[in-house]
Assembly symmetry: C2
Homo-oligomer: 374 residues x 2
């Protein structure tokens, strides 16, 4: 259920998305509860206080948001909000989608059938050659190749797919070229393909940005191919996200003597399709059951529960006590408290805004460092 | 149901096994029909003639068989017949088992839990290193490593497992050292492990001996690990036989850029367990459902059907017409003819003895070259 945003609504949308402690899940829940970003913004200080936050929540000023919009416009980038018609369908199908996406280049590529090709930064020459060839074959077969512009496999995949229009998803802003040796590749993708990011255009990538970047890589794609990956590497996280998002996962096998094949061999053992070339990917796409339906339209808003009373406070304390640094399912908290899901969701959003909890996609909740600090 | 053979029975057993056109299936069927090799031998000329054979069937003389027994005894090898108590249980569980086995070395190893490690003759250094290490780890874990003494992976597997007692299965006789550079390895296996073969001790291997050799490699083993194999290679046949025999199949993955990984990656795609080391093999053995029960004891014999009458001749002609160079299931012939399975089996044995048909394990029948020649 897409809608058209006025300039003011767009400003409020982005402002809410850029507010401290507001991730995609919290954004989504606030929108479901308040209907409009402006109403959510107005309620934020109160919600954070209820969650236990003493100092004020850092909400960017309208001026800061206008500066972000101006910076994007200056470099020719476009902001696409999750509720808008041209937001990529594959991303809109996520639960929840990223609230916003900046796109530099040809955003129409984002609605084509896409395949992610990702892998190790420290990749073997053979692995890079394979990634380059596979990406070219996928481009030839009409697929858009998505990757993360990192060193190694990512860069090789973009290079192979360059003539067909390839999509680079960055952790930093669309203008944040990293690694430096990919400056030229970045420029060519911005011209013939598309560079996208959830971050502000001039934002410098930090480690914490990469989980959200990885979620967009898999989210834009019907299939994710992992080419080389050591055990416990970032590409395996992208593969896991892809599986959670209902996308196909493929992995390229390698010798057990090569540590860069450990991760991909593990994926195959866990059920990923074995990928030796483009035919395997096309076969997986044939079997692809389709994007999930977008889980909701952003209306109508549920009533504010007015939970400033002692019972609501007691519930927040109980929910907080149930959290731990190990992710726990929201449903489990609902069961443990014995109150309804809406009341628990409200308490979790407040704890998230207060910096006590982090709400993860897939209905998981994890305690933050602040939680442990008292 | 094992039995003890007198010297005369043993002689007849081996003589029937060495008769022209008598493979394991035909041997098994003749034994089921006549109860005793001596009775089957007496009936052979008649059966072959019924199958359409003009010239006499080549049955070795008693002298020739005594010479084989003497040659084996001279080199310290032991003949074990399929009906004897010390015939390896894993082989006895095959349908049908090889009629005889010559063993040089320590035949008691043949009844230990065993894992075959096989692969390409033209193997990479890395593949050989992996095979050597895996075989040593399997030996350490108490498994007997079985392989085919070929160049490449087979040789490396034997080397790795040598300190633990390893079993080499040859296409030629147990004294047929091939390749020449494995002379020392052969000698050491004969001393500390076991060299086995279905062929006569001094027989020189021919291409046609290797399918039966491969069937024994998988037949002796609870699991078969294929280390490197090009598409359509012999190791893949061993893997297929293992699957048909209800044994576990594992394959070591490799880069799609390495043609020696094509076969193993294909196996994984088809459902073989991915093998990166000894833990994967031990896990597969944990899941092993056990050897199948030996399908029969060699008694009591069914009555001779006396099929020299015109109806029996017409049936043989019909069965012969149903054969083709593509294997066909015996059950399908039974269905197509509309007569009972015993009559069809009798006709097939006669056609096999006449050289018109070859009876394959698993109930398959294939026409031979003689079949096409008229």
């Amino acid at each position: 259920m897409s809608r058209t945003l006025s300039d003011r609504e767009r400003l409020a949308w982005l402002r809410l998305a850029r507010t401290e402690n507001v991730g995609p899940v919290t954004f989504d829940q606030l929108l479901a509860r308040f209907g409009e970003p402006a109403r959510a913004l107005a309620a934020l200080p109160d919600l954070a206080r209820r969650g236990g936050r003493a100092a004020g929540l850092k909400v960017p000023s309208e001026g800061e948001i206008e500066a972000e919009l101006a910076a994007g416009a200056e470099m020719g980038a476009r902001l696409i909000c999750a509720c808008e018609a041209d937001f990529p369908q594959a991303l809109a199908a996520l639960d929840p989608p990223p609230p916003v996406l900046w796109a530099l280049g040809r955003p129409e590529l984002l609605d084509r059938s896409a395949v992610a090709v990702v892998g190790a930064r420290v990749a073997s020459a053979a692995g890079q050659r394979f990634a380059r060839g596979l990406a070219a074959d996928l481009g030839q077969a009409g697929q858009v190749v998505v990757s993360g512009l990192a060193r190694g496999i990512d860069g090789a995949a973009h290079e192979g797919a360059l003539p067909f229009g390839t999509v680079a998803v960055l952790g930093g802003g669309v203008a944040d070229v990293y690694p430096p040796e990919h400056r030229d590749l970045h420029a060519r993708i911005a011209e013939t393909g598309c560079v996208v990011s959830e971050s502000a255009p001039r934002w410098k990538a930090q480690a914490k940005d990469f989980p959200r970047r990885n979620r967009i890589i898999s989210g834009l794609s019907r299939a994710v191919v992992v080419v080389e990956a050591e055990a416990r590497s970032g590409s395996l996280i992208t593969a896991r996200l892809a599986a959670e998002q209902g996308r196909e996962v493929l992995a390229v096998p390698g010798s057990p003597l090569d540590p860069r094949a450990k991760g991909t061999n593990d994926l195959i053992r866990q059920g990923a399709a074995l990928c030796e070339g483009v035919e395997d990917v096309l076969r997986a796409l044939d079997g692809f059951s389709g994007l999930r339906e977008p889980p909701r339209g952003y209306s109508p808003p549920p009533p504010d529960l007015g939970d400033d009373d002692p019972a609501a406070q007691a519930l927040r304390a109980r929910v907080r006590a149930l959290l731990s640094p190990t992710p726990v399912a929201r449903d489990e908290i609902v069961r443990a408290t014995g109150v309804g899901a809406p009341a628990v969701a409200a308490a979790l959003v407040e704890l998230a805004l207060a910096g006590e909890a982090e709400l993860l996609p897939g209905g998981w909740v994890v305690a933050t460092e602040a939680w442990a600090s008292d």
